[in-house]
Symmetry: C2
Subunit: 446 residues, 2 copies
């Protein structure tokens, strides 16, 4: 089964080297810890969903990977596809297990998802998302829309990354505004505004007129709305100054004010009302979220989501929810690609036990077992090479300590190979400084 030649990587399917994976592990562990501190229960769903569930939204279906067993019968229908996000599977999971879940149900889910689209910077065919959602039966209290961005803010602030800005908007606000300026098809207004960043105001103005049927004045007012952005409740006055009147607009304004004010209390400056944020997916019905990594805005949003009311419904009950998804791979791709964060070593190992002769390996194994039992990650040198070579083995991997058995009743000793300092040590009592126990993340100064 020998491979004929060195295999090539697959575009869009990133893989990390061991030291990079340590950075990823740290990111995932941090995100997980913050989500659990906020009472979100972990969940995983299967990687596959019935194809019809994945293609129901129409817009995204060309990105789905379809599965077929290699030796399936010719006429066996392709019934399964890989999930392209974690929201659609979660909605299905809630419907399937509703009778055994307690509502409101708070869950986090960190898994890979797949999209067959053309790979580019920050856009992969296989990538990891970290989602939180709160879903309830029949009605979902608005305050959860306030809560969700604050949880994510805690998670992102705990990571060694540049500062972020969470942009929030409200679908009711935009829809009410669109109705207030006389739009018959408010969804078309949302779709047009969603293109503002990519296509610019002139194209969007044209779309607002051609696709959403607005007149030039209404179109101008929609563009003026989309220009509004503020880190406090002042945005509401600027919206009202545009002179549009609609009850749904008022409701959306009041909700967005609550989100922004609670966020300013929790983490000043982090959350900004930005009325151009629309989110392409059409299932959002209230607050929507996007997140910029400051200084890396070209990457696009690293964390997005919103409130949805009709994603999960089984005819008897509806399960409205609100959620947000951290694009872990997109974030890590940038962090690792630019060398913003590195790991202090490429292995978990803290101590390498040296082996003087192959016949003392069993004794080295016992020393290692004692250290491990005390929580110190330890490996034994793979060969009884010259000690210089064994030290190089540790050095290449960044293992900070090498352990030497004492000869003839002498005590063992441990050498910090960075300083060269060697001291007597007993495996039953010696401990490394906390900073050496597990790999640390470092942020190199440019």
């Amino acid at each position: 089964m020998a491979a004929p030649s060195r295999p090539a990587s697959l575009s869009g399917f990133p893989e990390w080297l061991p030291a990079e994976r340590i950075v990823e592990q740290h990111f995932l562990e941090t995100i997980r810890r913050v989500f659990e501190l906020h009472g979100f229960a972990s969940l995983e769903t299967r990687a596959v969903e019935p194809l019809e569930a994945l293609t129901r939204k129409g817009e995204i279906d060309k990105e789905v990977y379809v599965l077929r067993r290699l030796h399936a019968a010719e006429d066996e229908a392709a019934a399964l596809g890989l999930h392209f996000d974690l929201t659609v599977p979660f909605a299905r999971y809630v419907l399937e297990h509703a009778g055994r879940l307690d509502f409101p149900f708070r869950r986090y889910q960190i898994q890979k998802v797949w999209r067959g689209e053309r790979p580019q910077d920050g856009r992969y065919r296989e990538f990891t998302q970290a989602d939180i959602d709160i879903i309830d039966r029949d009605t979902l209290a608005f305050h959860h829309e306030v809560e969700i961005p604050l949880v994510v803010a805690d998670a992102l602030r705990a990571l060694p990354i540049p500062a972020v800005r969470i942009q929030v908007n409200n679908r009711k606000l935009v829809e009410g505004f669109a109705r207030g300026v006389g739009a018959a098809d408010t969804a078309a207004v949302l779709r047009a505004l969603d293109k503002l960043d990519k296509a610019g105001p002139e194209v969007v103005a044209a779309l607002l007129q051609s696709e959403a049927g607005l007149g030039p004045a209404a179109s101008t007012r929609c563009l003026a709305l989309a220009e509004i952005s503020a880190a406090d409740a002042s945005f509401a006055d600027r919206v009202r100054a545009l002179g549009v009147d609609d009850p749904l607009l008022d409701e959306g304004l009041a909700e967005l004010v609550r989100v922004v004010e609670a966020a300013a209390d929790h983490a000043p400056g982090l959350v900004v009302a930005d009325l151009r944020i629309a989110r392409g997916l059409d299932y959002y019905t209230g607050t929507v979220y996007e997140t910029q990594l400051l200084g890396h805005e070209d990457l696009g949003s690293i964390c997005s989501g919103g409130r949805y009311d009709a994603l999960a419904s089984d005819g008897r009950a509806t399960y409205p929810g609100v959620g947000i998804s951290i694009g872990v791979s997109r974030l890590l791709g940038r962090v690792l690609g630019r060398g913003l964060v590195t790991a202090s070593r490429s292995v978990p190992t803290c101590v390498l036990v040296a082996v003087a002769h192959e016949d003392s390996r069993r004794s080295a194994d016992r020393t290692a077992a004692v250290l491990r039992a005390r929580g110190i990650a330890t490996e034994v040198a793979p060969s009884a090479a010259k000690f210089g070579k064994q030290i190089r083995h540790a050095d290449r991997r960044g293992i900070p300590y090498v352990w030497f058995a004492g000869a003839d009743g002498e005590p063992d000793s441990v050498k910090d190979i960075r300083s060269g300092e060697q001291s007597p040590a007993d495996p039953e009592t010696w401990s490394p400084p906390a900073a050496d126990l597990v790999p640390q993340l470092e942020e190199p100064t440019p």
Copy 2:
């Protein structure tokens, strides 16, 4: 996008409820911790491999899931499949990144794999494996074959599961024995012996004669070999008593003795030489491993692997390795299915902060933030319902504590809802007993 009706589960694609997932998280965390204590570096590979790499072995190809983009061109060849194990992808990863890895390279990998075979008890279409491998360039020291089962023994002993028995054998031993009794096709002997558990000695005797071309006496001696099993080196004398002579047999015997003796030193009784273990996959070349969960032998092996010499080769260098894989889903399916282990609660939450009126929610949020900053998982009651209802919210999920704000300058208080005891408490200083901080696993007495 409402689903028309309650969706059904997919056979072979298990999903856990939140409390079950907590058990799984504990298992995975324990396995990970033990692997890292032994100096294995974490790694993940992409879920897909080129189809040709997955079907190279021939035997397993009918189980592969092939991927196709839903809107791929008609003539676009299906080039990718989902990996069916973690060994083939790891061998590919090593070849691809050989220049950037340090050898011997120790890695662990915990991921889902997919096989399109018919689902049955302990056999899934999507399941999680936890693998460790040690791979070196050109030559791999034998002592790693001794080491691998001891690492896994540490991991399995750290889990709340019934005792296990790791069965070991050696391909050289069996192949040398087969050669010694005159078999021309030793691989056919291995394949026949591999069927012993399922098909019984009579069928295997017939296969040894029809497929491997052995005479009746040689076939009987092979079956006698397969009957040998011992927890110490005594198995070697019983093999020698069969009167077969071959240098490869001697080499295999010596190696297996070393594995069994080192294991008896490390964990008495856990590892047993069992000469019927063959492992179906034909890439193994030295020690092979299987593992029985005692009292659940019907489940099949929960942890298997072995030494391989030619799995990764790029024409310039060969990378021999040894590895073992814990069948996490198979193990968990039994543990959860039989209720052998349960979680003390279905959420990570330790404290629910009660909300007296909706206008005190902001203050409850601040109390929760203080507790979280001190590492205590906390959520805030979703509505300002009667306190009895808020306590039931906690009770249903197994949240042990409910926090009440003090009225009119009185101190806050915290209620242990299991005992009903309520005491004054300050969020800056109060801590729960360690056993309440995170969900615990419990082993119900039958």
